[in-house]
């Protein structure tokens, strides 16, 4: 959906228009559900997460402003935060029932392979190209799966201290690059 239209629908929803909100849901729920499923690897939990996320979006719609990003990126951020909160709560205590985990090919999404990239994505990927491939991979694993430093360290067979400093240094470099771009 074109960005201006989502903007308009969000403004209508902020005024209490439930039909506009349903249109937002129809246009964005597959994206947000995809985000939640990738992080939680469970369809039932992901469904709860997007329900919570949409209620928060409905609730916070009046406070949305384009300064904090596009409507889509704002909604994705709300969904990711909720999904990661649920993920942490579960793994912290070890209640995860492995039998319900969706078996999926562990292929990290590759933004570099996208044929249609927004201007912002091109700029971000350009800056991330300055990082070495391992450092870049750390950022992608953290963003797409919500992995902790420890989990990334396991997956990349790299000491956790190294992963931490890679991520911090990478964030600092990406920020500097974007701000100067």
């Amino acid at each position: 959906m074109a960005q201006p239209q989502l903007d308009q629908l969000l403004r209508a929803a902020a005024g209490g228009d439930q039909d506009a909100f349903k249109a937002i849901y129809d246009a964005t729920s597959a994206k947000l559900f995809g985000v939640a499923v990738r992080i939680l690897k469970r369809s039932d939990l992901a469904e709860d997460v997007i329900q919570d996320a949409y209620l928060k979006i409905w609730d916070a719609a009046p406070s949305y402003s384009p300064d904090i990003g596009s409507p889509m990126s704002w909604m994705v951020a709300i969904t990711r935060n909720r999904a990661i909160d649920v993920l942490r709560k579960r793994t912290e205590i070890g209640v995860d029932d492995q039998s319900e985990v969706i078996e999926q090919e562990d292929e990290t999404p590759d933004p570099y392979e996208l044929t249609a990239q927004s201007r912002d994505l091109k700029a971000l990927l350009g800056c991330m190209e300055m990082l070495n491939p391992d450092q870049r991979q750390c950022l992608l694993l953290a963003y797409y799966y919500g992995y902790t430093h420890e989990e990334i360290s396991d997956r990349m067979s790299t000491p956790v201290g190294t992963v931490k400093s890679w991520i911090r240094r990478s964030l600092a470099r990406v920020k500097k690059c974007l701000d100067n771009g």
Binding site: Q18, S29, A30, F33, G34, D48, S73, V95
Partner: protein
Amino acid sequence: MAKRDLDIFAGEYALGTLDAEERAEAERLLQSDAGFARHVRDWERRLSPLSEAGEAVQPPASAWGRIASAISTGTVAASNPLSELAGQLVELKRSLSIWRYATMTAMAAALALAVVWLGGLQSPFQPPAAPEERYVAMLKSDDGKMGFVVTMNMDGKQFAIKPVAAKQPEGHSYELWAIMKDKKQPMTLGLVQTSAYAMMDAPPVLDSKELDKGVELAISMEPMGGAPKGQPMGPVMYAGLLVKATP
């Protein structure tokens, strides 16, 4: 934490790589430090283009139901998200391991016995029979207020529900649900009143084997007469785990 570090900490939070403890710290800062909140928003904006990659997945058709019901009844702000139930279950499991829980269970058992005794089911003057197998749940609200006590007696396949401090919601019904370990959907146990102690039939599936696996009870606020589709749509008002109160 130094100023420059706070910006990177915000970046790590937005990236999603902080562990549970660090995340909780970041969320506290988000509430209390406007500068930190601005850093987080900036990082979310910088990183969000990454979400253009990644597969879209159609959610189940049922996903819209609870959203529609919450926005049309205006209960959004008061809603207690269903996914919180997972968290509440975790909290209960955690508290099982500490002494406070032992005290709570003892109190609940005493309360349950008092309920039975007041009901005249067991006279104190008769020789004590072998203890019946009994399960107790204290259903609390999000902020820890006790709403109902449920005692389930495995012999009669009935359970008693006693309102403690719950208020009847205006224009709505309270519905009681059992959330079983292996079942995806909650099962309704019926509507509950806040005015009086009541005995209700327990469905056969709630046997001691199921209860030992861990069954959580939850009370949601539904339209008058109960959830129209047999599944909870409204916010969860009270919840608690059924625990064995007899040896």
